[in-house]
Each structure stands twice: as structure tokens, then as C-alpha cells.
């Protein structure tokens, strides 16, 4: 016992010496947490009932009340992996899933997507980095467009979004389109950015890098880039028994419904 105590003390004093590398320990722990999340939660999950959310909050009355309210408006939820990309992943999955049931709108969407590369290059994005993501994005859209049977197409969408290689390419491209939208309309968006960052700085630091979480401003720009509207249902520990809804842009008729819990987005279905 005495020996053990002594070893412990030695360890402590060793750790407080400047030779110990705390950065590495912190980063290693961060990697470990990320690995646990990616091992256990698919990029985009299967449909689950809204009531299944109860399991996550079995002792939290505020959340349980709000889930009850949510369940009166929506039946299903599709969870996404909480990796900082959840808004972009959920949003593009949900839009495409909707479009698969409406061929005409899909074709329109496809045409706009085809021209989007030029917009990005005109804004100063490097041609070949844009092309890298554009090519994969269009490959996925084309593959989905060519499947006649809606059920088959939905299955393919689900597979593509759970294949990290493709899924992350879709996320990057939507991040780039969102950044482009912000920069195109920088006068409008600059008033939403705190501090003295320019819209371009904000895009380079908070929109274009992977894993950076999304805020109102990302959602507004993404909606505007894809010419669509989204309804976000906010569920947190704030007062009241109801979830609050926000339509972005205001007054739109939303095509996509998302559930927001602090730091995370999932997809909702009626």
C-alpha cells in the first residue's frame, strides 16, 4: 500500500512538470469520444416514432411534456449523427427525400444544381476543389433521378447518406453553396454576425470547415441557396410545455421539418 501511494505521488509530480504533454491527452480523449459516437450512431438513422424520444429523457418532466406536444404534431423522427454536420446532413437528406416523390420539382432542383458550380467559381472558389465536390454531388443526384421506383430511390438515398465517402461530399457541397449564398448577399447577412468578422471570414471559419455547428444564419442561407423553406421545432428546457416553431425564411411553406435540441438537428415527419 505504502509503495502504491508513493508511486501515485510520483506520477502526479511528473504530470505537473513541463515535459507532460496535456494537448495530446486532450486531443486523444476528444478522438475517443468522436469514435464512440461514430461507432454507435449511424450518419442518418431509420425512422423512429417521436415517442421514442421519451427514452432519452425518462427523468426529465420538462422534456417529457414537450415530447407529448411534439407527438401531437409529428409522428416520426429520423436521427442524425451529432458530429457538427447534422444540420447540413439532415437538411439535404430531407429535401432529396421529399423531391423523390415529385419528379418535376426534382428535375428543377437538378437543373439549378447543374449551374451551381459556375456560381461558386465566379465567387473565387478554386475550380478543382469545387469540381471535386460538385462531381460527386451531381453523380448522386443523377443516380437518384434515374431510379424510377420511389421506394428503391429512397433506399438508395439512405445508403448513399450512410456511406461516409459520399455523405461527407454532399455535406461539403452544401456548405460551399451556403457560404456562396452568404457572400453573394453579404450586406444582408453581415448584420447577423457578431464581432468584427466580415462575412467572408465567417464563411471561412464557421461555414466551410466540416464539423462546425450551424446556427440560424447558416439555415437561412442554405434555404435561400436551395430555394426552399424549413420549419425548425425547438425543444429545450426553457419554460412552457410546448415546443416552439420557427419557419425559415419567415412566412414560407416549409418543405423540410427539423427538430432542434441544443446543439443538434434531426428530421421530423408528419
Amino acid at each position: 500500500m505504502g509503495d502504491e501511494g508513493e508511486t501515485m505521488t510520483n506520477n502526479v509530480s511528473e504530470n505537473s512538470e513541463p515535459t507532460a504533454n496535456q494537448d495530446e491527452l486532450i486531443l486523444a480523449q476528444q478522438r475517443q469520444i468522436e469514435k464512440e459516437i461514430s461507432d454507435n450512431i449511424p450518419l442518418v438513422g431509420e425512422l423512429d416514432s417521436v415517442i421514442s424520444l421519451n427514452k432519452e429523457y425518462s427523468t426529465d418532466d420538462i422534456y417529457l411534456e414537450k415530447i407529448k406536444d411534439l407527438a401531437s404534431k409529428y409522428s416520426y423522427v429520423r436521427r442524425t449523427r451529432p458530429d457538427g454536420n447534422c444540420f447540413f446532413r439532415a437538411f439535404s437528406y430531407a429535401i432529396l427525400e421529399k423531391l423523390l416523390c415529385d419528379k418535376d420539382s426534382f428535375i428543377k432542383f437538378y437543373k439549378i444544381a447543374e449551374n451551381s458550380k459556375n456560381v461558386l467559381v465566379e465567387l473565387g472558389f478554386q475550380q478543382f476543389t469545387v469540381e471535386d465536390f460538385y462531381d460527386t454531388y451531381m453523380e448522386v443526384l443523377k443516380r437518384l433521378k434515374d431510379i424510377e421506383n420511389i421506394g428503391e430511390a429512397k433506399k438508395e438515398l439512405h445508403n448513399v447518406f450512410n456511406d461516409q465517402g459520399y455523405s461527407d461530399y454532399m455535406v461539403v457541397y452544401l456548405r460551399l453553396l451556403t457560404s456562396a449564398q452568404l457572400q453573394k448577399e453579404h450586406d444582408f447577412y453581415s448584420c447577423f454576425i457578431e464581432g468584427d468578422r466580415t462575412v467572408a471570414d465567417f464563411c471561412h471559419q464557421e461555414v466551410e470547415p466540416m464539423y462546425k455547428e450551424s446556427d440560424h444564419i447558416h439555415i437561412m442561407a442554405a434555404c435561400s441557396a436551395l430555394n426552399t423553406g424549413v420549419r425548425v421545432l425547438y425543444m429545450d428546457r426553457g419554460t412552457g410545455n410546448n415546443v416552439t416553431k420557427h419557419d425559415l425564411p419567415e412566412g414560407c411553406s416549409p418543405t423540410v421539418h427539423l427538430l432542434y435540441r441544443p446543439g443538434h438537428y434531426d428530421i421530423l415527419y408528419p
Binding site: T19, Q126, V130, F133, Q205
Partner: protein, 154 residues
């Protein structure tokens, strides 16, 4: 589908673009890179009318097979490491786009341009204040350092 992995395909594209239109002061040995696409050595000339005019440096880029989702590991190598407040004497560089602000839409070219501009805007050649401590304690891989980006003006 192509036989090349996405990271190889992307690196190859970048290589072709750099050979075709190298940014001013940037050059590379394409044949050597073709041997190993995941390890590049790039030659950098200090820009004219800056503190580094007439000096030349070598940058080493290491890529993982998850590039461009993972940022490249970039350090100065060789005999001559620039003396700069954001460059440690072991070649490590404190530059946010190499870790926190990396985006898959960036490239070898944009990293080179950022480093050239970082050197060019320097007003006084000096090592980072914590150089001795950092060089003694850091990992060989600069990406294993949790950098604090506190001063963009240099």
C-alpha cells in the same frame, strides 16, 4: 469507377494544377511527388520587398488517406526555418487553416498562399515567445497540438 482512391484522385488534380499555374514563389519537384503522392516537398521563395526577400524555404506536406477531409500536416523542413513569430524552430507553424479552420475546399495551393502571406506581413523577425518550451514538449506531429490562434495581424 476509377481505381484511384478519392484522396489520390484529389491530390493528383492538385498536383496538375500546381504544375500548370504555380503561385509566385512556389515550386515543386513533380517527379518526386509522383513517387509518393502522400508526401510533398514544396520550395518557397520569400516575396520581394519583404523581410524574407532572397531567402528560400522548404515546406513538407503529409496527407492522410482521408484527405481532403483531414487537413494536411504541414511543417517547414530543411536547413533554413524562417524566423517568424508563428513559426517554431522545429518547423511547426501556428496557422488556423492547418487545424481548426481547415476546410476540404482549401488546397495545397491555398495553404502555400496563406504561408507566403503570413511571412510577407511580418514586421519583425523573431521566434514565438514560447519557442523553447514548445519545441521541447510538442509531438512530432503539429496537428497534435491544440493551438491558440491569438493574433491574426502578423
Amino acid at each position: 469507377m476509377t481505381e484511384r482512391s478519392p484522396s489520390k484522385r484529389r491530390l493528383h488534380r492538385e498536383l496538375l494544377s500546381l504544375i500548370k499555374e504555380p503561385p509566385p514563389g512556389v515550386s515543386l519537384d513533380a517527379e518526386q511527388i509522383e513517387q509518393n503522392l502522400f508526401l510533398w516537398t514544396i520550395h518557397l521563395e520569400g516575396a520581394e520587398r519583404t523581410l524574407y526577400e532572397g531567402e528560400s524555404f522548404q515546406l513538407q506536406f503529409k496527407f492522410s488517406d482521408n484527405y481532403p477531409f483531414d487537413s494536411p500536416e504541414v511543417i517547414f523542413t530543411g536547413e533554413h526555418i524562417p524566423i517568424h513569430p508563428h513559426v517554431y524552430s522545429n518547423g511547426h507553424i501556428c496557422l488556423s487553416i492547418l487545424t481548426d479552420d481547415w476546410s476540404p475546399a482549401l488546397s495545397v495551393q491555398s495553404v502555400c498562399l496563406s504561408i507566403v502571406s503570413m511571412l510577407s506581413s511580418c514586421k519583425e523577425k523573431q521566434r514565438p515567445p514560447d519557442n523553447a518550451f514548445y519545441v521541447k514538449t510538442c509531438n512530432k506531429n503539429p496537428k497534435k497540438t491544440k493551438w491558440w490562434y491569438h493574433d491574426d495581424s502578423v
